[in-house]
Amino acid sequence: MARTLIVGEMFEGKVRKPTLCGVTFALKLKELKGAPFDILLPGKGSKEGAMEVAEFGAERVFYTEAKEYESYKAESYAPLVAGVVKKVGYDTVCATANIYGKDLMPRVAAILDAGMASDITQVEVSGSETIYQRPIYAGNVIAKLKIKTPISIVTVRQTDFPPCETKSGKSAVEEIPAEKPLTSAVKVEILGFEKTQSTRPELTEAKVVVSGGRGLKAKENFKMIEDLADLLGGAVGATRAAVDAGMVPNELQVGQTGKIVAPDLYIAVGLSGAIQHLAGMKGSKVIVAINKDEEAPIFSVADYGLVADLFQAVPKLIQEIKRVKE
């Protein structure tokens, strides 16, 4: 029997929003092959968190606040997930392809001896087969794949399975016991967590992203990128070159190796559009590029390109947007 388990995530006592990306995926599978779904939510605050996610149509929501799950370790979380899969019986186990899902799910796959599709962007069902699509080669090829093991492990790309917003049907909430951690769990000791401080929206959740690249030349100049982002209520992004040059913190990196974003509006300033960067943003709805080099590859994906010196264009753009917004 087809049944899906969503592995949810708690962060500082609250349900992390990407948990609901899993719901979007599970609802899709329910529509395609009638598979009901459950949610597993381990970690501190998950009792309350379970109530919160119990309104999205899952049959059951499992939670545990056992001390083993207070701080995340793949070595304790993976056997918990695998244990629930074995006890209840699932053919599909999914999480979101953020760092949590990327770190945890291959270990779950390893315990369950299962095949895994990472970072999928689409799912379809053809007869008895479930077919996944995922981008490879920095988004330049889309691969179609099938998983040959009885259990499939999947992580879903947030931009293609956005957090479910529609509530439907109450779930039964059940507390579950802790599972014995892997013996390797004691080999990892978490020393601390340093949280990134930002007053702006999360890059992956923002409706507008303004990104800067090497063309900004210096840290101080990122101020105008921030001003433009703030004016539009958006997030600030950057290329790897800008991060490497120390202009902005690492977590702002957009690209194949950084965050994958798909906002309504993406404004690319002073960045050439390296393949690795394009891989992280070319799913954006509207792309604006401002660059003085008219040959820059970023123009090939831009809906609106402005060939101009960013140091003149950006302040003027801020002024002009303020004017039309009044």
Binding site: N98, T257, V288
Partner: protein
């Protein structure tokens, strides 16, 4: 310390838009593109060498060996790692189409058991397949602790553990991990002081964001270093695959955009046409 660094050969990542889907739609070919070491694996090699040397004195104080699965000519990539400073290379004969994360992880587990390294360092993902699974599956097969997305490593001589900084959603985690362990590294590991080994002075700066250059004498020396060849059969690796990639498609194309001649036009278009501001 003895470190194992698995590497993968990938087609030139800066020309990933030039790979082609075969006419039958069942494969991808990178014909005409050069081969390179997967960048994150290369960062792993650099990190491993930094961990096992006295940086300013350019002295080796530990051992690094690199491993890959691939055809004969992948020796070129292995030799580059030897020229960077690795002591030994191992090539396991295989074709890309024979491999999925599981086959790779099972093979690497066999090599681990033969060589007994203290640490395995992998790149956080490959830039072609982008699955990001091998490190975690390998750790599980070997029942070892894992640390993925590692941005900094520190180790003191004789200590049985390393301290790592992991870049995660919303911040960074610091963790102490007992060896042997499996770690995967991000590009931040190339930071000028990201790798500390208690021998190289803590305030010694490596050229930031760079993998070391291999001068000619090092390349010459590398030719004499051992490059072992093995087969999946002699290692007794289960070569069954769990995933079937059966078709490849081009990504959805974006419709051609326009160039605007002024900021004013741009703002008008964004407001009235795209309706995004």
């Amino acid at each position: 310390m003895k470190i194992m660094v698995p590497i993968k050969r990938v087609s030139d990542p800066d020309n990933a838009n030039k790979v082609k889907i075969t006419p039958d739609g069942k494969g991808v070919t990178s014909e005409g593109l050069s081969w390179d070491i997967n960048p994150f694996d290369l960062y792993g090699v650099e990190a491993a060498i930094r961990l096992t040397e006295n940086g300013p004195k350019k002295e080796r104080i530990g051992e690094v060996f690199v491993v890959t699965l691939g055809p004969q000519d992948v020796a070129i990539q292995l030799r580059r790692c030897l020229a960077m400073g690795a002591e030994k290379a191992i090539r396991i004969e295989a074709q890309d189409t024979q491999l999925d994360s599981w086959v790779v992880a099972r093979t690497l587990a066999k090599i681990f058991e033969m060589e007994k390294p203290d640490l395995i360092i992998l790149g956080k993902a490959t830039v072609d397949g982008e699955s990001n699974q091998v490190a975690q599956i390998l750790a599980n097969i070997l029942n070892l602790p894992q640390a993925t997305f590692v941005a900094a490593i520190s180790h003191k001589p004789q200590e049985p553990f390393i301290t790592v900084t992991r870049e995660v959603d919303g911040g960074v985690i610091k963790a102490k991990v007992s060896m042997p362990a499996v770690i995967s590294v991000s590009e931040r590991i190339l930071g000028s002081r990201a790798v500390q080994n208690g021998i190289t002075p803590d305030n010694f700066d490596y050229p930031s964001d760079n993998v070391r250059y291999t001068p000619l004498p090092m390349i010459k020396k590398a030719e004499k270093k051992p490059l072992e060849q093995k087969t999946l059969a002699e290692l007794g690796v289960d070569t069954s695959m769990k995933v079937d990639y059966f078709a490849f498609l081009p990504p959805p194309a974006r419709k051609a955009g326009i160039k605007v001649d002024s900021v004013e036009t741009l703002v008008q278009k964004l407001k009235n046409e795209a309706k995004v501001i």
